[in-house]
Every structure is written in structure tokens, then in C-alpha cells.
Amino acid sequence: MTSPIAYGPAQLLPGEHIRITTNPDTEPFWLAAKEHRLTACQCASCGTFRMPPSPFCPVCSSTEKAWPDLPGTGTVFSYAICNKNFMTGEDFVYVPVVVDLDGAPGTRLVANITGCSAEDVHIGMKVTVEWTPIKDGWVLPNFRSV
């Protein structure tokens, strides 16, 4: 199901206003992103993936973590179409997407998508990662339509 409204190109929110924080559980994900490597937190004991990264594996309670390189591709699970950048107050068409990550079953990222019109985004759409520099030297994974 696509939107009946013509919004025009889906844009990425500008990185210069975006900030994140990290903690010891989440930092490896963001350090990999700085090197343009998409990873997800995997239990080093039983192999179960979990995102966002958290202290324990919810299946086996292990704290051992692995950070494998993922293909950087995925599938749109759901999305919204937004038309205002609240950080600046300007009209701005962007599409927050929830993406099922390939290579890490059960994990998702929430990001923006570009490379298509907002009204053409749809559930089931294939996407590939796109890296956006943000504040404080961090890098944010976004997605581009394939």
C-alpha cells in the first residue's frame, strides 16, 4: 500500500542537527558505523541477534557479544511519511522506515530512506545502507531504495 498523496523525493534528515549518545553496550555498533560497517549485536554463546544492543542475551542470558559484518541490505517492515523537520521547523519530506536487516534475523533498524519518492515507499521494499555523517563525528546508517 502506497500513499495517495504526491510528496516528492524522500530526503534524509540533515546530519548536522542529529545527535546520538552511546553506552558500553551500544558503542561497538556506532564505532563500526564510523567505518561504514553495518553490524548488529549477536550473542556469542547461542547466536541469537538482538537490537538495540543490550547487556544480556534474552534467550540464554549470556553477556558475550559478537559484532559480525552484515550485508547492509534489508526490507522495509513499516514506515511513516513526515513533512516537517522539527529540528529546524522547515517543511521537509522524509520517511522514517523500520527495516528488517538481512543476515541478522529478528533485528531492525529505524532510519530514513532516500532514492525514491516518498509516496513510492512500500512495505516489502528492498533497501541498502547509506551512511550519513552526524554531529560529534558519528555516522548514522540510513537506507536507499534498491
Partner: protein, 405 residues
Amino acid sequence: MTWVNADKCAIVGVGATDYYIRGKSWPRTINEMAGEAILKACADAGISVKDIDGIAYYSGALAGYLDKFDTGSLMETLGMPNISFTAALTSGGGGSVGAIGLATAALMNEDCKYAVTVMAVQQVPTARLGAAFGATLPSPELSFIQPAGLFGPGHLISVLTRRHMHLYGTTRDAFGEIVMSSRLHAHNRPKSIRKSLLTKEEYEASVMLADPLRRLDFCLESDGAIAVITTTTDRAKDCRNKPAAVHACAHGASRNWGRAFSWMGMPDPEFSSSGHKFTADRIWSQSGLSAKDMDVALLYDHFSSMVLMQLEDYGFCERGEGNDYVLSGKTRYDPATGKGVNGGVPVNTHGGNLSEAYIIGMTHILEAVEQIRGTAINQVKDCEFALASGGPAPIPVSSLILRSL
């Protein structure tokens, strides 16, 4: 298996301030609005405020998101000599009706004799619920959500709503019907903030704020305070008004719901749900009742689509059939018969958060009590059981059945 504490406690007093459009309650203060609601609830119950010895909050005792309820301050100004129970459910508005269960736990444990549950909200420009995530540096957990531009609750809910439309063919027409039905119920209420009747054309002209949700799919942003007093059913006999018995009450959620739309990791079918299945199952198990036994349903309606998803989670219809259920008019109240329309159970006979006012779930408890008493403005005929809900929100969400004894 009937709940061991079914009907052992009752809501005996309700009190509310005027309702205001966001920010317009200033220069009133949180404690003054909360105090007025508590004093009115005491008068309604026929007790002195000095009889209050328990406070059961929700939302972590946050008053809106500006202030925090401090039991000491309320005692200091209202004069309660001792408080022997002061506690809150965690997280946010999802715990609203669950706070009545917290009060019941306190009463059944003989921690207190009269427990008040209160919410006051005041959204001055620096504290706006609708932009809860917007202005702050995200936590490490929310750093996986907020950078995508999901700034407010409406953005987050729209992502869940989209998945529901995808899986089940749910239409915007159904959301429009929920808003129009809500407005119809608010129309004859003096305190409603939005009371003019709404046409489908007007709904469709409402600006799309987070596609698929329009401005009118979002609830009101309002200020005001509401307090309710719960006591044991034995003590309730000495109160001024007819008691509304706590027949069943539950809070919580499954892990598959958990942090909900601040996580976005929920599998199907929880992702495109209201997250209420767990507490709905609990109150049905506690009471031996089901949705069809309810005479009225007061469903937390911060967003229109979440009414539809609650109808599914509580079993008013099957999952995926909310669209057709709503479009058949079954959420409407028919004043001619005092019943629902087309065999439905009337939903949000007070106009809900969408049209009357948003006091973070308390208006639903107030309406449930009035329906049980038989004093509601849109009174359901022979109302024996009233369902009220809190959430959809990150855990806890909550469910309550009030009963006419």
C-alpha cells in the same frame, strides 16, 4: 477463575477541574489543579480530604511531563495528617486505569483506607507532550529511534498503523469514522474542547501530520486535573454516591510489546496492535467475562487508529476485522435507545481524548464511573459493566472493569 479481590473495592468519588487547551491553564499551578480535583472527589465521596491516607499514581507520578507529584507537597497544602501508601506504576499514561489496581492492592493490604489517584497536566510551551522526544538528547536506547525523525508519539504510532493497513487492508475511512463518532459523543458535553460535529469531508481536509495519520487522528493537547477515590466496598456503603466496584483490573504487557513504539522490534501481530492483548486476557480471565458482556468501552484514544487496534485486542472483533467493525457504526452511541448501534458496544461516550479532553487517561475512568452510577451525559441504558483502558504505550498498558453492584 474469579479474581479474589473482585468487587471488594470501589471508586466512590470523582473530581475534575475545567479542561483547557494546551497551556491555557496558566497561571494555575499543577498542585492547585490537582488539589481542586482531589477536594471535589472528596466532596463527591462524602469524605473529608483529611481521610485520604493513600495515593496511587501512574506515569511514575509525573504530572504531565513538566512536574512531578510530590506527596509531601499535596499533604502540606491539603492537610492530610498521615499517608500510609504512596506509590506509582512505572512508565507513562498506559498505567492510568492500572492505578486503580494499585489502589486496590493498597486497600486489600490494609495499607490505607481511602486511596486517591490523581493526574494533573499543564503543557506550557517548554513542556509539550506531543514533542516528548523532540528537544532532548536521545538516550543510548532512543539513539536507535530518534535520529530517524520520529520526534513525537504521532510519528511513532503512524508506523504501527501503516503496518496494520498493510496486513489487513485497514482504511483511513475507519480512522475517520472513529474521529467522527468521538465528536458526535462530545457534541452535547459542556466541557468538551472539540464539540462541533465533524463531516467526512472535514476529516479528509485535515492535514496529514504523519501519513497515514491526520491532525484530527491525534488527540487534543489539553490541561486540567482529575482525581478519583477508591476505598473498600464495605466503606463505600457510607459514601454519598453509588459505588463503582472494581470488578477486574490488570496492568503489564508481553515482552513482544515491551518498549513498543520506542523499540519497533515487535513481531507480528503485536507490531500492529495496541499491545493490550495481555491485559485484556487477564481481565477476561479474572472476571469470566468477554467483550460482548461490556455495556460501554472507554478506550484510551490518543490516536484514532489505536481505538481500532484495541477493539481487536479486547475481542470486540477478530484481529484484522477492526476496519469493518468500525465502519459498520458499532462504536457509536444511539441516544434514542441508550445502546450501541448495529449491535456494537458504544465506545468513548464522553468524546474521549480525541474530542473532549486529554488528561492522560483519567477522563475514561471518570466516564466509566458516571456510566455505572447512571449519571453520564450519554448514559448507556442499564449499564452494569464498563471497560476502561490505559495505553497503548510502552509497558505497562492497563485494563479495568467497573461494575454496578
